[in-house]
């Protein structure tokens, strides 16, 4: 536990330091971010704040003066942006390409600054910086006024829920410290920001390069009556009191050193938890009473939002990582469907129907975007219909998770209402979402169970139902092999059925085209049909190009406990194209067919197929023999 008061100290330095330390620990913390367009001077502004609060040390200053030669410098002979533009690549390009964190403190407050880029393609980094900030400095170049970037960033700030904005009108020296220019920009911005729901909006005219209105009021702008930037940042009250919100305790790690101790470690996301409190597990609604709040510094009576502790309960309850504890009467939502706003952060677009991993709090579940309601133009805030979300686009979506999760609407609780989506193959973080509300539809839809089940039907047929999923390029030999297999199975009295890509597209999927979005939906439907057929007791042979790893994985997951065999008919493109049984390659090469796999649409070969058949070296009969052996062996 932190020492709050002075133990017996001998040296006078210790007494001084004790007083000083008390002052240090009493300081509050402000996390803010800087955003704005390229060349608005963000890095210079942060460098200036560090310099003016005397945080630049002698050796840094010396090397800075050295590096500042031939650059745009202020009266001190220093290019302040060099202080913060860390990576070699961005120094060469002259732009900040990533979010960087800076630390400084004054006598009154400690500051953590997220320096975020203005360049359009890196908007995702701004959202990242905003997600951990209470306040934003929005920079505007006095010569240029409001730009598309200014609007975009304001919208993202509002989306992520940053409530306090300081509009920093920079480079005011370059417009002769004009009051008129400043006031026009401010009134334009106020008009634009009206709908964005900010709690406070203040504007300051500054020159970061010259230090006007940063720490002290500038004599060159007697018309400005407000506070300079730094004093304003020291004084503004931004802390929403997380302790008065309902208790949310996400279980992070089960603490089990021996058989006598079983605790649940986690950080209180909101509210207060005290010894003697009754708590409920959000998922199971099982109750228990808190017996101890354990820390290495001794047991506590209670823990408040922000504290990392370990809870011991009075009874054995099945709780693991991902569970959330709450007080009865103030439980979070618990559902497998919700509506959310999604910021897409990846080069490959977001596809409705594709399966992703969703992380929210300590919960990690497979999830699908079930619908894209509309896309919001981040420059005009206009809404429009869309089939996919591209990099840096924002959409309103419905999401279904494979199992229900505990959450709160983001506006009520930022830590239990924000989530990220992760790619299941590359593991990249693809997007970030904020939950609007839960959808209750799913809760009213239950599965009917019948007395005659798959086992009974399978026994009637004396066979093991399974799905054999063929993947490979067009012309690779999938359907030929599947056909041979079906004939042999039938000859032996087994009951099999082929689902063929071309045939299904004439009927069930005739509404689908060949865009990536439609291909994903195509596979999803076929996977569901295959599952129903296998459930009916059949051996299902699926012959689909199925070019994407993600969707083949989805098909396997949809199959659930049904035996699933992924067969990759590995025939090289040149061979398939030379065969060209349907003349499709020729048409694709001639540009008459778009999105043709292997030509202008990707085929992702399986990394771990159950069976790989070499279609170039062996003829279909040999391959069918080989596969038949696997099926019956």
């Amino acid at each position: 536990m932190l020492r709050a008061t002075t133990p017996a100290l001998e040296a006078s330095a210790d007494t001084d330091i004790a007083l000083w330390l008390e002052q240090q620990t009493g300081k509050s913390l402000l996390r803010f971010l800087t955003c704005g367009s390229v060349d608005d001077g963000k890095s210079t502004l942060i460098g200036r704040l560090l310099y003016d609060s005397q945080l630049i040390l002698d050796d840094q200053l010396a090397s800075l003066r050295n590096e500042s030669r031939n650059r745009h410098v202020g009266e001190e002979g220093i290019d302040f942006s060099l202080l913060v533009d860390g990576l070699t690549a961005e120094r060469e390009q002259g732009i900040t390409i990533d979010v960087a964190y800076r630390f400084f403190s004054t006598d009154k407050r400690k500051f953590i600054v997220a320096d975020t880029p203005g360049h359009e393609q890196y908007t995702r980094n701004m959202a990242t910086g905003a997600s951990n900030s209470d306040l934003a400095l929005l920079l505007v170049d006095a010569r240029k006024g409001l730009l598309t970037q200014t609007r975009r960033h304001s919208f993202i700030l509002s989306l992520i829920g940053v409530k306090h904005i300081v509009l920093v009108v920079n480079k005011i020296d370059l417009v002769d410290y004009s009051q008129e220019v400043f006031e026009t920009i401010v009134s334009d911005y106020r008009a634009f920001a009206q709908e964005l729901g900010f709690k406070t909006l203040n504007a300051v005219p500054v020159s970061a390069l010259r230090g006007d209105n940063i720490v002290t009021r500038s004599e060159r702008m007697p018309w400005y009556k407000g506070e300079p930037l730094l004093p304003y940042l020291e004084a503004i009250e931004v802390s929403e009191d997380r302790a008065v919100q309902p208790l949310r305790f996400p279980v992070q790690w089960v603490n089990r050193p021996n058989l006598d101790f079983r605790g649940f470690s986690g950080t209180v996301a909101s509210g207060v938890v005290a010894v003697g409190d009754e708590v409920l597990v959000a998922a199971s609604r099982k109750p228990a009473v808190v017996r101890r709040v354990v820390t290495m510094d001794g047991d506590l009576d209670r823990a408040v939002a922000g504290q990392a502790v370990t809870l011991v309960l009075d009874r054995e309850v099945d709780i693991s990582r991902g569970d959330m504890l709450a007080h009865p009467g103030a439980v979070p939502e618990f559902s497998n469907q919700f509506q959310a706003r999604l910021i897409w952060m990846n080069d490959e677009p977001a596809y409705p129907g594709r399966s992703y991993l969703l992380k929210i709090g300590t919960q990690l579940v497979p999830a699908t975007i079930t619908g894209l309601k509309f896309r919001t133009n981040v420059n005009t805030l206009e809404k429009s219909a869309a089939k996919t979300l591209e990099l840096n686009e924002v959409g309103t979506v419905t999401v279904a998770t494979d199992k229900p999760i505990a959450f709160d609407p983001y506006t009520e609780n930022g830590l239990t209402g924000g989530f990220i989506l992760i790619d299941r193959i590359s593991n990249r973080t693809l997007g970030a979402g904020t939950i609007d509300f839960g959808l209750r539809r799913a809760q009213n839809l239950t599965y009917q169970t019948f007395d005659v089940n798959r086992q009974v039907r399978a026994q009637m047929k004396a066979q093991t139902p399974r799905i054999v999923w063929f993947t490979g390029l067009s012309g690779s030999g999938k359907s030929t092999i599947a056909n041979l297999i079906e004939k042999r199975l039938t000859a032996e009295g087994r009951h099999a059925y082929i689902l063929d890509g071309d045939n299904v597209r004439h009927g069930l999927n005739k509404d689908l085209g060949f865009t990536d979005t439609d291909r994903i939906e195509n596979i999803r439907r076929v996977a569901e049909v295959a599952k129903l057929m296998a459930d009916a007791g059949l051996i299902v042979l699926v012959s689909f190009i199925s070019p994407f790893r993600n969707e083949r994985r989805m098909a396997r997951e949809i199959a659930g406990d049904i035996d699933f065999l992924e067969v990759y008919v590995d025939t090289p493109l040149e061979v398939c194209e030379a065969r060209d049984p349907k003349g499709l390659y020729a048409k694709a090469r001639a540009g008459q067919i778009k999105n043709f796999t292997g030509i202008d649409s990707a085929f992702e070969p399986p990394e771990r197929a159950d069976v790989v058949l070499n279609g170039a070296e062996h003829d279909p009969v040999e391959l069918a023999d080989e596969l038949y052996g696997r099926l019956t062996g």
């Binding site: 620990t25 300081k27 913390l29 050796d59 960087a100 990242t128 050193p257 950080t267 510094d297 830590l415």
Partner: protein, 306 residues
């Protein structure tokens, strides 16, 4: 102790402490084979303290790894072994056997090549041998410019390299801990601490640190303005160069031939903090490896240095 403070607002240090504990627990819960880098310095001491807090009453559920270049200060090694015994953590040490065989040292091979072989390559060897999927380190964002942009969970490809342009965005406190086979994660739980936070916390929590941080008369030689301590007889002395006793201490600890001492009278924690408040140079200045070439830390990190 035991009473929680009445006001719900947590102090800055408390918030940093909780954040770090949460990160450490996330590592233990999400990875199969985590390991914690133990460099024996003050940041490592804070990290060790936080790890003990994070899992209490359980023991730290992963081993600590020390890359021993054989050129560390003797007091560091003694301190390391004492800590391991006192707190009962699982300590693994590794020295690059190739470097040992070829007698790689900072004098004959230069600081850059020496660091590459005895630290960077050694670390890669140890991480590969242990099949560790997460390595926890004590780096702070305020230490050096390229570190300011590093993630808390920093993804490394199968050859342990960092790609600053392909970092995963980190939103809220949601850390993407997913890996493909062969990949690994470097995790920095004290990313948001400053040097002053570290010292204040060491003081407030009474955390043991290596005595080299405190000023004491020590044998030193001065080379190009840097004070090098003569820790043993392996340091080659130039003609006419004789070690002299000076009241010095260290702001960072590493390999003794590459670590500059500062003249100081600060013999207690309080005096160190006071001196630091008045000081006008940054802490990495005493490290010789950073100034070999421009952008050198970023380059080292891309190659796998911590």
């Amino acid at each position: 102790m035991g009473q929680v403070t009445a006001q719900p607002q947590l102090s800055h240090l408390r918030l940093l402490e909780s954040e770090s504990i949460e990160i450490l627990r996330e590592v233990a819960a999400s990875f199969d084979r985590p390991v914690m880098m133990y460099s024996i310095g003050k940041d490592s001491s804070v990290l060790l303290h936080l790890a003990r807090k994070a899992f209490y009453p359980s023991k730290i559920p992963f081993p600590l790894l020390h890359i021993d270049t054989t050129w560390k200060f003797r007091e560091m090694i003694a301190f390391r072994d004492r800590m391991a015994e006192e707190y009962g953590f699982d300590l693994i040490t590794h020295t690059n056997p190739d470097g040992l065989r070829d007698n790689i040292n900072p004098f004959d091979h230069g600081s850059s090549r020496y660091t590459d072989i005895m630290k960077t390559a050694a670390l890669r060897q140890a991480l590969t041998a242990g099949k560790y999927d997460a390595a926890i380190g004590g780096a702070r964002r305020d230490e050096e410019k390229s570190r300011a942009k590093e993630r808390i969970f920093s993804h490394r490809n199968a050859s342990h390299a960092w790609d600053p342009k392909n970092q995963r965005p980190e939103l809220w406190r949601l850390f993407n801990t997913r890996l493909n086979p062969g990949e690994s994660m470097r995790v920095f739980p004290i990313s948001n601490w400053t040097e002053l936070d570290i010292w204040t916390y060491i003081y407030a929590e009474d955390i043991p640190i290596v005595p080299l941080y405190f000023a004491r008369p020590r044998p030193v030689v001065e080379r190009q303005g840097t004070l090098i301590m003569v820790d043993d007889d392996r340091l080659p002395l130039a003609k006419g160069e004789t070690p002299r006793e000076e009241m010095v201490r260290f702001r960072t600890l590493g390999c003794y031939p590459l670590t500059g001492a500062i003249r100081s009278d600060a013999a207690t924690l309080a005096e160190i903090i006071m001196e630091m408040q008045a000081s006008r140079t940054s802490e990495r200045q005493g490290r010789l490896i950073d100034s070999d070439q421009a952008g050198s830390m970023e380059k080292k990190k891309q190659e796998g240095y911590f």
